[in-house]
Symmetry: C2
Subunit: 223 residues, 2 copies
């Protein structure tokens, strides 16, 4: 039959890889060695095992020996991965205080799923929450109507972090870069076309959380 001379991956290998991926997508768990054999025209379990070993050596597969269906695709092939489910607690808009987890009486109607690998640094905590932006009031933060902002509860922030604040005096919710200055705080819009807001120490500054991510889905069309 065909020979491979021990270099690289052959057609058979690709077929197996593809089968594992599609099987896993359909059944939510990996196939057994025998199932792989049936669908890839391999009549012996030992041959499947043989190929699996090669795929593992190539770094395309990982195996938990002795464990049933204990294999998983590595890298680009793997359709499954760790993700974080972040509850969407409500909307954020100017003129209304935002709801942080402890204040919100609502059950998250919806949630968004974020890949762990996308999470900045060590914000991988379980206490993140999300809000959907309503209206154009956040355009100075470069955030559109409909965007989803993911927040981490916080009462204070370091310079340069984007925070969600409730400005009592102005009766306004806003997202700004936070800077502490000698006579108070400076809230810097992300959009350079807008001017910073200066907050005196006397005014109340109510930080609700830090913005860790912004997601904009383009499914809907522009007005």
């Amino acid at each position: 039959m065909m020979v491979r001379k021990s270099k690289g991956i052959g057609e058979r290998h690709k077929k197996i890889l593809g089968f594992i991926a599609s099987y896993q997508r359909e059944h939510k768990h990996p196939p057994s060695i025998r199932e792989i054999g049936e669908h890839c025209e391999i009549s012996s379990t030992s041959v499947v095992n043989y190929y699996l070993d090669q795929l593992e050596k190539e770094g395309l597969l990982e195996r938990d020996r002795k464990i049933s269906r204990g294999m998983r695709l590595i890298g680009d092939n793997n359709p499954l991965g760790d993700m974080l489910r972040v509850p969407v607690l409500g909307v954020i808009q100017a003129g209304e205080p935002i709801l942080v987890p402890s204040e919100s009486p609502f059950t998250p109607e919806d949630s968004v799923e974020i890949a762990m690998s996308m999470m900045p640094s060590k914000e991988k905590g379980r206490d993140l929450f999300a809000l959907q932006v309503q209206g154009d009031s956040m355009i100075d933060a470069m955030i559109n109507d409909g965007d989803i902002v993911i927040l981490k509860p916080a009462q204070d922030a370091r310079n340069g972090e984007m925070v969600a604040v409730w400005l009592n005096e102005r009766n306004e919710t806003t997202l700004k870069y936070f800077y502490k200055e000698k006579d108070g705080y400076r809230l810097q819009p992300a959009n350079p076309a807008f001017k910073p807001i200066m907050i005196k120490k006397s005014e109340s500054l109510d930080i609700k959380g830090k913005v860790v991510m912004v997601i904009r889905k383009m499914e809907r069309l522009a007005a």
Copy 2:
């Protein structure tokens, strides 16, 4: 011992649920019935099975009977999910043509993972690609320096869709809402503070793709 009167979930159930989640996170595959028993102080496999059945009835778990470790958590508990790995092909900036998959000679140095559930409609194709925005040239599209835009290759677009275009005459790459008009095309910035660009039919309009998502990670601090 304690009794549950067949309503709701008890402490034991939560412990099992938690163990499955943590086990799966560590081993990349679900535990066996016996492993659950060992770590939850249940000495009989039948009791574990007993609880698993209840969890399934509650809709918190799904089971593939007869299949080894054939269980998976449902909903918020499930740390694993279908995700799309989108290759980051390079950067997008004004003054340089963008690279679409077929043109790019580079192997994606990096990739971003997006939950399937986050993908708009049926853009769940395998041909998506991502670009990292460099510079502030996309501020009129409400997109910041460092943002990641996810694109779907396309040569044309419908009105209202945001597209990535290469304007040959202006030697410029840009992201705009696309509108076809009687005498040509109108490229509308997402930011209402900016004016639309009118393109005559005589000018060449090179649509490279549709923007399906924008992601902004806030890990880095503002300048």
